[in-house]
Amino acid sequence: METHEYDVLVIGAGGAGLRAAIEASAAGVKVGLICKSLLGKAHTVMAEGGVAAALANVDDRDNWKVHFADTMRGGQYVNNWRMAELHAKEAPDRVRELEAWGAVFDRTKDGRILQRNFGGHRYPRLAHVGDRTGLEMIRTLQDQGVHRGIDVYMEFTVVSLQVTDGRASGIVGYERERGRFKVFNAAAIVLATGGAGRAYKITSNSWEGTGDGHALGYQAGAELMDMEFIQFHPTGMIWPPSVQGILVTEGVRGEGGVLLNKAGRRFMFDDIPEPYRNQTADNEEEGWRYTQGDKNARRPPELLTRDHVARCIMREVKAGRGSPHGGVFLDISWIKKRLSGGAEHIKRKLPSMYHQFKELGDIDITSEPMEVGPTTHYIMGGIRVDADTQMSSIPGLFAAGECAAGINGANRLGGNSLSDLLVFGKRAGEYAAIFSRENRRVPVDPASAQGAADAALKPFAHGTGRAENPYTVQATLQDMMQSYVGIVRREDEMQHALVELAALKDRADRAGITGHREYNPGWHTAIDLENLLTVSEAITRSAIERKESRGGHFREDYPDKSPEYATFNIVTRRGPDGSMEVRRVPLPPLPPELKQIIEEQKS
């Protein structure tokens, strides 16, 4: 097989992968970058609201300590504290660096980077570009990356991560255009493959979100952590059916949008969790003043954390107070009553939302409410890594961004993902480069590589005839996960999901396809399916193990938070016999100075 050699190989070209590649390249090592799609099309492009960093441009009371405490509170204190600390401290520099690379953020009146309000953030903290911040970031990183001599391999699918003598040694994959297999041999490998939202039927994720890095890492022996924590974003489009799941940015609420049930009631005032009571407005007037920058006002309850808002929406729908198509109403048009030129303001601050509803839903958001409901958005769980270096338990294997675990705990705050991928993308690239200087490449075992390629070709041998259609199996899996391991979970349903998963694995093994190897989406679907099944099993087993409700994980049979469960993370790993092992790993102890910061910020 054709073999390429690199010091650092980055898999994934979204924000984290690009940032890692740039950093490794800046360190002077030879870098290869593999993209599943074309460069610049990764899921980061869809991020809307902004990137969280305590720049304190809009409210000078903000600093890393507040951001750190907000992140820990949002994650319900099962976050890796060191990652949350590094993230809060380093995010401002990472954002300013983007400006030096050409990013054009919206501006404050005195010409600095503007910041907006977002759920769970105490002060306006999200640097943004209207509602297309992700596009701005990926384009900036992409343009920075291509001038640094990084070799980019577009539309390339990785089928196996190779480990030689206990060290990550390379990957096997194929280029989609011709279907030819290649081996990449590298001293250090960075996984930056994003999320796994495609395990669910209703999702905001693009086709790429099939948990590839999670599954590649797992199969190679790395540990997955926090897989039970899935973020269901409270506001996805729900009507018409073909747009179900498409994201409606939290920025709508940050700009003053309100959630209403069918009676027109702002139901978010009905349930404000205790840890947030002191910081949350108890009347509409105060909430409005907050969105308009009044520093003495507390934030409206629409800006509570995503896990909570999603559950409140579910409650309204279940109680028969939902909108016609099974969601609730999100109204931004009402601000016209408060702001002169309100319609223009909405179009300027939320241009792609305006566009999206106008073109896909025949709705003019400047004059009528949107219908929204929860959509699978993000996975807090991922590969377990060292906080400072982002290296996994396999030497030479690093992970960053959504496919790594730790910073977000049980629930991610909006805006913390774009900053996560900058901060930890950079760190992963930096430490991967150091690792590659200190450790020679180890060869990929040719027989093992050939075995991986042969296994990937199996669907061709099955043909169609009596074989399973991979598209059908994928759709069945998505329906099943949505029904049994979704927003509201129960022991019996999840046990049933495990039975279903075993049956689906059997079907996936018999997936067959037509056509040849050149650009064959049926083939890609069959390969993605294996990753989705691995990730779905890890989600389900971890969710069964956590017998409490916390953050993105809600158990109908254990609806309360349990102090016992606040002391450990749940980790899954491939056992010696190939079955999935689940264990509890104690949280690292929180240093007193950080504990004090958290206590101080509770008022």
Binding site: S37, L38, L39, G40, K41, A42, H43, V45, M46, R96, E99, A100, G102, V104, D106, R107, D110, G111, R112, V129, G130, R132, G134, L135, E136, R139, D143, V146, H147, E177, S206, W207, E208, W239, P240, P241, S242, V243, I246, P351, S352, H355, Q356, E359, L360, G361, N469, P470, Y471, T472, I513, T514, G515, E518, Y519, N520, P521, G522, W523, T525
Partner: protein, 246 residues
Amino acid sequence: MTTAGFKVWRSDDAGGHFADYSVDVVPGMVVLDAIHQIQATQAGDLAVRWNCKAGKCGSCSAEINGNPRLMCMTRLNTLNLLEPVTVEPMRAFPLLKDLVTDVSWNYAVKKAIKPFKPRPPDAPDGTWRMQQKDVDRVQEFRKCIECFLCQDVCHVLRDHHQYDRFIGPRFLTYAAALEMHPLDAEDRVQELKDVHGVGYCNITRCCTKVCPEHITITENAIIPLKERVVDRFYDPLTRLLRVFKS
């Protein structure tokens, strides 16, 4: 349930042909949904490029009933379903398979444009100051999702194949975003004239009409670049001054 007929371009040994498919129509459906339905039920190997299905990544560009569009943003209820809907690949780029084209030329072109080079920071902490009104115009260009529909429809590329002499509307817009960036200190005017071929554009506005992000490519990006080239190289007074200087 109603059905709609589709004629989709399929590659074959002789080049390609339109294949007929029938699709069940659901409310709000877009062309990309129809293509996915065909893939899942009738033609598993039908090649199509797509990512976000929300008009944000610019991957699913195609020609629908002859019009360059994003498949994910083209609703079936805007099309005449009494006739079959034709879906074919962008014709300005080499075909890889079915609806997928080789757009690598675009990446090569972009790399050849001089990158952003900021002026020294304005503040001691290494940051800059810019007013919103000064960034508005480059923010318009930076909305571009690189779907390359403007390139597809540009006759200089599509009909006259000037790929070696003309970078096309996408990259003129990109160059404009750099040239008009308040912090940028680089000069690309010479290259715009000699290498990037801004003079080849004869302002037919086809690019502006197909832009799914509604960027006013011709008036806001290309014409100002043409003016910069004219000011520097063709203004009679400047020319005269240059003669005297040399």
